[in-house]
């Protein structure tokens, strides 16, 4: 059989597999099956088309035998690092508790020194763990659809919060508008690479600027090459040291190491991550003038149809989902809670279901206007569940919006028969989500809903209270304005710091950040936000519950958007009133 014929044949199997597997298999089995199948197909494809896409291992040593020992060593490092992390976590937790036991000044100094030491050890262990994972080729790379602009915006936001303390450093971003809106690749690894490079720049620039430029380097039929340029005006690196910069265990010189800290593994990890995705990284620098890193990474293009789905998003400004009963069927706890808080924020009534059984039960007992359904569920698929609902639930068909991380799933026309009216690619932005919901509920909902009433409902929720703060300012308008600016800065700092600490699993850092923001929130009686912060503080100080923290953190960010709007409104009202 001709190889090309074989490939055709396999493509057919693939599409067949796609339809059947999700319904019959557990979702993780199906995903694993699909992944292995894809690997097989890709291997074959590369043989036919010569486009070799195997993951290269980090080249640590040239001789084969040495390589083997090296790998055993690396496994050992990985295991040991992992084992060290757990007791280290407890040590850090107990140190925190120790601090609150009425120590005298000298004792407290000693405990704080231990705290600093254990924190840096923790970072070191984390880097080692990651290094060994990458070096042994055990790091996996996702192939998911994502919006590059969103990833870059998030990175830029974080960098701005990191720079917040350094007044004399400016951060700027140039983003090529020709970059496709949706690409396929690993967004988390992309932000890791950029955060690391920009984080380094922040360390080495005392005064000056840091710029991130993202360009469309090359546009081919199936993929694109993006170029990321991180340029700083920092201390620079001498020529003879530049060639060693990507070697493990080496920061440019020992002196720098003492001043700036770190394990010296960062850049070698970054280089490996880039190369394993078939990209490349280069550096140029002039001592005293600054350093520039160029990274080129390939990304798969999403199909034309997929791109269309996203551009269909209508940009409506006034959407109202107030009063609508919306059922969220989603198995992931975090996504479910996030969705709940988004809907509540807008005055909707969310009902939450984790699986098929709960979903059907709620549909039988409650009057639901719209269903948001995840494609992948533990006991069924979104599509299958839509079919079941049609059969088992009486009454008019309830519109269903299907949420999926897989763009292919969004393209099946036949789904429309089961009441699936629309699709959204995960992760979805709040405005997109609201616009879509609005579109499907308001056809019949809007007349029965008195718009003024719903507006009042929202206004009645006192998200913040600037009035008493204004009185405490003795009604001095510019002081109130100044305080509000400080409040916003504090919140941005809290969001940024917590995000960084979350990545590092640094519980004491999170606890402290939460403690700090409380004071400002209390001053404006932002009780909703305060609630989330207190939960975060409790989870980080007492139970080290990372998932819990993440949920509350996501809720905080979601809720803050509305609070900020309210703050600005209140501020305008109070300032104009005088």
């Amino acid at each position: 059989m001709d190889t090309r014929e074989l490939l055709d044949y396999l493509t057919k199997i693939e599409s067949g597999l796609e339809n059947f597997s999700y319904a019959e298999l557990k979702s993780q089995d199906a995903a694993a099956l699909k992944a292995s199948f894809n690997a097989f197909k890709n291997g074959l494809e590369s043989r036919v088309f010569g486009d070799v896409e195997t993951v290269p291992r980090l080249n640590l040593n040239n001789s084969n035998k040495a390589n083997q020992t090296n790998e055993t060593d690396l496994h050992l490092v990985a295991n040991v690092s992992h084992e060290i992390r757990t007791p280290l976590n407890s040590i850090m937790g107990f140190l925190d508790l120790l601090k609150d036991t009425g120590l005298d000044t000298r004792q407290l100094e000693l405990v704080k020194a231990m705290d600093v030491a254990s924190n840096s050890m923790f970072n070191l262990v984390n880097e080692l763990l990651e290094f060994s994972k990458i070096a042994t080729g055990h790091e996996t790379y996702e192939q998911v659809s994502f919006k590059p602009k969103n990833v870059i915006d998030e990175v830029a936001f974080l960098c701005k919060t990191l720079i917040n303390q350094k007044n004399e450093v400016k951060f700027s971003l140039n983003y090529d508008s020709g970059i496709p809106e949706i690409l396929i690749g690993d967004p988390a690894k992309l932000s890791q690479v950029l955060l690391n490079l920009i984080g380094n720049a922040i360390k080495f620039v005392e005064k000056g600027s840091i710029n991130l430029t993202v360009k469309l380097k090359e546009d081919r039929s199936k993929k694109v090459f993006l170029e990321f340029v991180v340029a700083d005006t920092g201390i620079g690196i001498a020529n003879d040291q530049l060639k060693h910069i990507f070697e493990s265990y080496r920061q440019a010189d020992q002196l720098n190491h003492k001043k700036y800290g770190g394990s010296g593994l960062g850049l070698s990890i970054i280089k490996a991550i880039i190369e394993q995705q078939m990209g490349c990284i280069a550096v140029s620098s002039q001592l005293g003038m600054g350093t520039t890193f160029n990274v080129i990474l390939p990304y798969q293009k999403a199909s034309l149809m997929a791109a269309n789905i996203q551009t269909q998003e209508t940009k409506q400004t006034s959407v109202s989902i107030a009063g609508a009963n919306i059922l969220v069927v989603e198995d992931d706890f975090l996504s479910r809670k996030l969705m709940e808080s988004r809907l509540k924020q807008q005055g909707g009534h969310p009902y939450l279901a984790e699986n098929k059984e709960e979903c059907l039960y709620i549909l039988k007992t409650e009057k639901i206007d719209l269903i948001l359904m995840d494609m992948r569920l533990p006991d069924t698929t979104g599509v299958q569940l839509a079919k079941d609902i049609q059969i088992k639930v009486d009454g008019p068909q309830i519109p269903i919006i299907l949420l999926s991380a897989d763009i292919q799933a969004c393209l099946e026309e036949s789904y429309k028969d089961y009441g699936i009216v629309d699709f959204m690619l995960k992760p979805c932005k709040t405005e997109e989500l609201l616009t879509k919901i609005d579109q499907y509920i308001n056809n019949d909902k809007k007349e029965s809903n008195n718009p003024e009433l719903t507006l009042n409902n929202l206004e009645n929720k006192p998200l913040v209270d600037l009035e008493s703060l204004f009185n405490e300012c003795l009604q001095k308008p510019d002081l109130l304005e100044e305080l509000v600016t400080m409040l916003k800065n504090n919140v941005v700092e809290f969001i940024g710091k917590t995000k960084v600490h979350l990545i590092e699993e640094n519980y004491s850092g999170i606890g402290f950040a939460a403690h700090k923001i409380k004071s400002s929130l209390k001053m404006v009686k932002a009780n909703g936000l305060l609630n989330y912060v207190e939960q975060i503080q409790d989870f980080s100080n007492n139970t080290a519950n990372l998932e819990g923290i993440k949920t509350q953190y996501a809720c905080f960010i979601e809720a803050y958007k509305a609070v900020e709007v309210q703050i600005d409104k209140e501020l305008a009202r109070l300032l104009n009133g005088k």
Binding site: D100, L469, E472, N490, K518, S519, S520, K522, M523, K525
Partner: protein, 124 residues
Amino acid sequence: MDSKSLILAEDDVMLASLLKYRLEKEGFSVTLCQDGKKVKEELEAQLPDLIVSDIMMPYFSGIELTDYLRNQLNSQIPIILISAASNDENVVSAFELGANDFISKPVSPSELLVRVKRELIRKR
């Protein structure tokens, strides 16, 4: 009567700005310190008439500050501590070390003013 001098140690800029404004409005001369190190430096240069300090501060907490002032500098100038509501134990140890008063967050500036004035009257 010349104005009373006061050190305000608070690391939250928002709260600090509001309190500073209100205290100055009442005629106090206020030195703002954002961390414990700065407080120590100020104290070494010159002792104020009164100190208002947050308990939880970078480098040098309000408790340590109280201890330092009473036992190292042997000074009896009044200290009012600001505490987060949850830190009861801290407040007890602060009193044991010689703090004069405390006020819980959220701090009402008007209440703080009353307490500051009361401490200054007692001192006389």
